[in-house]
């Protein structure tokens, strides 16, 4: 016999993926089908051969030492997100404080109309907090919140 339509079940049978009933039926078929029996032997040989020749090789001997050295010297940030958030929020805080200072000094009134209007808008919105120490405080709080939130977020 040079082929058999049921030989497609051989691998599933070998990997024990057939339902119990199908398994019994296929075992009965195996008794009478030399082609499927040969297929099963071949697939079994491949199965064993593959698990042998795909075996992992040994780790490079210096791997552990080199990695541990690098974890000591090049401690990377645990959360890149935290860095980004802190950078953005501290940038914002510095910007707000800078605007406050510039506005107070009157520098913005000469030739920075748009920026002046923007600054006025921001400070109108933050009216109760309209003093320099409060602004700095606000910046610190923003950074604190960002740090807290970032440390709660797991990395993907």
């Amino acid at each position: 016999m040079s082929s058999c339509s049921r030989s497609t079940s051989v691998l599933s049978y070998l990997l024990d993926e057939l339902e119990e009933d199908d398994k019994v039926l296929f075992e009965r078929h195996l008794e009478n089908c030399p082609f499927c029996r040969d297929e099963l032997r071949l697939e079994r040989i491949l199965q064993n051969g593959l698990s042998e020749c795909t075996k992992p090789s040994a780790a490079p001997p210096e791997l552990r030492l080199n990695v541990l050295k690098r974890t000591l010297t090049a401690q990377q940030p645990r959360f890149p997100f935290l860095q980004i958030a802190v950078t953005l929020l501290s940038g914002t805080a510095v910007f707000i404080v800078l605007l406050k200072v510039l506005r107070g000094s009157g520098l913005l009134e000469t030739g920075f109309g748009l920026l002046m209007r923007f600054a006025n808008g921001i400070f109108a919105a933050l009216e109760p907090a309209n003093s320099l120490p409060l602004m700095i405080g606000l910046g610190i709080v923003l950074i604190g919140i960002a740090t807290g939130v970032a440390s709660l977020l797991p990395e993907k």
Binding site: R41, L46, N48, G49, C53, P56, P60, L63, V67, Q76
Partner: protein, 188 residues
Amino acid sequence: MINDPDRLDDVRLACGGDRQAFGRLIDDYGGLVYTLLHRMVQDRDTARDLAQDTFVKTWTKLRSLRKHASFPSWICSVARRTALDHLRRIKVRKEVSMPEESFVENPDNCTQELSPEGIALLKQAVCKLSDRDRQLITLAYWKELNLSDVGRIMGIPESNVRVYLHRARKRLREHLRGYENELLQQID
């Protein structure tokens, strides 16, 4: 998945910043990571460097590991991404055939059923598979990983892993066409 409680302890300790425990994990999984990388990038020195990068990355991200038992599949995912990034960087054509040297050479390790000639045939056939089929077959036969791990590493839904594996095996058989009798005689 990790079942050994000592290994699980090492993962837990390493997550807390214990370098010695992390060192033991490097010993335990370094071979797996290195082999996967070697089969992907096809160069020993590069695989060695990338294995270091993989473990350093893992160390810095350990805190985000939620399920300690899934450390093996997690580190294999990191390794696979590291290799893919590298291949993208050097813009290597991805479907090149594998050097056989990345497979186990020591005949003592080989199955008793197959002679060295049989193993050589099988290796040749595996090397002719596509990158993805070869990765799939490699990972699926590692006892440290189950099929859902393999799915996670390869970015394939677990339900499809079996289907893809069957197809990979089928293609492997196609590469062995004409050698069936030779292989069957191996155990006669």
